[in-house]
């Protein structure tokens, strides 16, 4: 083998005690898993704060993402973004109480993911490989997936007795069938425009939830401590 080739797979030696500890930790982690997500119980405020920061980041990137998308489609793309298309998730968060609203955030994140993925696939065919749009779309998808997982964990922590509905496989927000190029351009613009609007709403919502839910828990805990 040539001397300049590096071995990228580090060799790890684990002692028996460490193996046992690792197994115990894995079991504990699996025990707290719901819907395939490993959650670590953390203070309410810091979890929501982390999600809020992530949301702000994705929202900021979604502004640039939409701008880059429009530039890549050629002139006249602003009108495309205003066309109505079925089955693209709407940006509004629904629900009356915090648990419903948090669940709505989670569901919307999950609903946007296949659409972001579809837009990425379509634009991969339409754009040159070096186009920055493609990496930005991929980043948006990954970060949104991360946000969904975080919201999932926070929800389980705050509302352990309320189950999360199973993820819809073929619901009203499923991706459209094959489209011609013009339809793809329109579809992508509508998805990203609604995605941006959704993130803006999530930012506001998480701020509200943090003050509502985490404050209430602290007050309840303080009251208990008196006894």
């Amino acid at each position: 083998m040539s001397g300049h080739v590096k071995n990228m797979c580090p060799q790890l030696t684990i002692s028996q005690a460490a193996r046992t500890l690792l197994s115990l930790l894995l079991v504990a982690a699996i025990d707290s898993v719901s819907a395939g997500v490993v959650c670590r119980k953390q203070p309410c405020g810091s979890s929501l704060q982390r999600s809020l920061k992530l949301t702000k980041l994705i929202h900021k990137e979604s502004v640039d993402l939409l701008k880059t998308y429009k530039l890549s489609q050629g002139d006249m793309s602003e009108l495309f973004c205003q066309m109505s298309i079925n089955n693209v998730p709407d940006p509004n968060i629904s629900g009356l109480d915090p648990s419903e609203r948090m669940l709505s955030i989670y569901s919307h994140c999950k609903a946007f993911l296949p659409h972001l993925k579809r837009v990425t696939e379509q634009q991969t065919d339409l754009q040159p490989p070096s186009c920055s749009l493609l990496s930005k779309l991929s980043t948006a998808h990954n970060r949104t997936n991360g946000l969904a997982n975080q919201i999932n964990c926070i929800y389980q922590t705050l509302f352990p007795n309320l189950p999360i509905p199973p993820e819809p496989v073929d619901g009203p927000t499923s991706v459209p069938p094959s489209q011609n190029v013009f339809q793809q351009k329109v579809y992508g613009c509508v998805v990203l425009k609604r995605f941006k609007a959704f993130l803006s709403r999530v930012t506001r919502e998480l701020r509200t939830l943090k003050s509502q839910v985490c404050t209430r828990r602290i007050t309840f805990a303080d009251t208990n401590a008196l006894f």
């Binding site: 083998m1 040539s2 001397g3 300049h4 890549s72 489609q73 050629g74 002139d75 006249m76 793309s77 009108l79 495309f80 066309m83 634009q123 339409l126 754009q127 040159p128 490989p129 011609n180 190029v181 013009f182 339809q183 351009k185 329109v186």
Partner: protein
């Protein structure tokens, strides 16, 4: 469902009888040659209650003149475009049909370009016989205006199936990388196929044995240092690339060097297979940048040379300052006017510094000796001349002491 309409001048158009949705354009996403013409039709659903004579067309946001329109039926409007230019973006030009109030009714993306020309200048090289990298240049002007795919293909000359290179992500355009599973001592046939919606083109086939196109890594640990107090020499040492040991290569090396504030490199050829070299005939008190590169030869016993490696990272060192300068400066005083006499004096003093010891023995006789020397050896005034700068072993005329 489509209906054939006959427009002006008997031209046949296609209008939708039942548009797919609100409206539809025919053709959808066509690929067209630059300079050609296109007639497109926009058919609106009767339920919309729109008359086609209120509709209009835009292309990439620019409204098209109504003189190019043709009203084929109450709900079908065509547009004819001549002398099409190459597409403005790879995703296609946006040809859009609008209602009178500006709403988008339908769109079609046009791909206007050229078929690819034959790729040229296909060259390949192998790093230490392990892999194969190839690069090529698109044929013609290289701009087809539409998405064009280049596929590098290869096969063993006398047997074996055709294979495609898969890794085009080396960061440079028109390159491909084959990382493994390459046969030695057997020629490969390699070529590039270019294709887009308007046609295909294939490069000439090149035939090569991996062992004929081997390069290696640049030498590492290049060190440049002084040779004692010798003011006109530097010594260069380097390590041979580790891969040479693994593949029975020998090596030959090449050195290049330049002054710190110069862009002109001087090359020392035929360093041979030694891993050190002494540079002579240099300027005293001067910083030099030095690089070394390697060419693998003697691959598996062959005497054939390979491909030069990249140059090593530059290493630098300075020659000692001349001691003669310390015995008194012979520099012309600042503020003196530039003149032929001044220039000549400067050259004379430079010669005195090099060939005498200080200016203490200054005399008209010394000046005469300089004039004689000037006529005899014009070349030795250029201290970075190549003939004086070979590796140690070539005699450099030494400066005698003059009185």
């Amino acid at each position: 469902m489509q209906q054939v309409c006959i427009g002006d001048y008997g031209i046949v158009h296609i209008c939708y009888v039942s548009p797919p949705a609100v409206a539809g354009i025919f053709p959808q996403d066509p690929a067209l040659r630059m300079g050609s013409s296109l007639t497109a039709t926009c058919t609106v659903s009767p339920e919309r209650g729109l008359h086609a004579n209120t509709m209009y067309w835009t292309m990439n946001g620019k409204r098209l003149p109504s003189s190019t329109y043709d009203l084929l039926s109450p709900n079908c409007l065509s547009v004819t475009l001549h002398h099409l230019n190459g597409s403005q973006q790879q995703s296609g030009d946006n040809l859009v049909c609008h209602s009178g109030d500006g709403h988008v009714l339908a769109g079609s993306c046009l791909y206007v370009g050229m078929p690819p020309e034959k790729p040229v200048n296909l060259t390949c090289w192998s790093r230490n016989t392990k892999d194969l990298s190839c690069k090529w240049t698109p044929g013609g002007r290289g701009e087809t205006f539409i998405k064009t795919k280049y596929t590098l293909k290869y096969k063993l000359r006398w047997y074996g199936r055709e294979r495609e290179c898969e890794d085009y992500s080396t960061g440079q355009h028109y390159t491909c990388y084959i990382p493994r599973d390459l046969a030695l001592f057997t020629p490969y046939e390699i070529w590039v196929e270019a294709s887009n919606q308007l046609g295909t083109a294939t490069s000439d086939v090149i035939t090569l044995d991996i062992l004929d196109v081997v390069t290696t890594d640049p030498p590492d640990n290049v060190h440049v240092s002084r040779v004692g107090e010798l003011e006109d020499q530097l010594t260069v040492h380097w390590g041979s690339p580790p891969a040479l040991k693994d593949f029975l290569f020998q090596a030959k090396y090449q050195i290049r060097y330049r002054l710190e504030d110069s862009t002109e490199w001087k090359v020392v050829d035929d360093v041979g297979n030694q891993t050190s070299c002494r540079l002579a005939g240099l300027r005293a008190g001067t910083v030099y940048f030095v690089q070394v590169r390697c060419n693998p030869v003697g691959i598996y016993g062959s005497r054939k040379a390979g491909i030069w490696s990249d140059w090593s990272h530059p290493s630098a060192a300075s020659t000692p300052h001349s001691e003669r300068l310390q015995s008194g400066s012979c520099e012309p005083k600042p503020g003196e006017q530039n003149s032929t006499l001044r220039r000549e004096l400067k050259q004379f003093f430079g010669w005195v510094r090099k060939h005498a010891y200080g200016c203490s023995g200054m005399s008209i006789k010394l000046y005469d000796q300089w004039r004689v020397w000037l006529q005899k050896s014009h070349k030795t005034r250029n201290q970075v001349d190549k003939t004086d700068s070979n590796c140690y072993g070539i005699v450099v005329p030494s400066a005698g002491r003059l009185s």
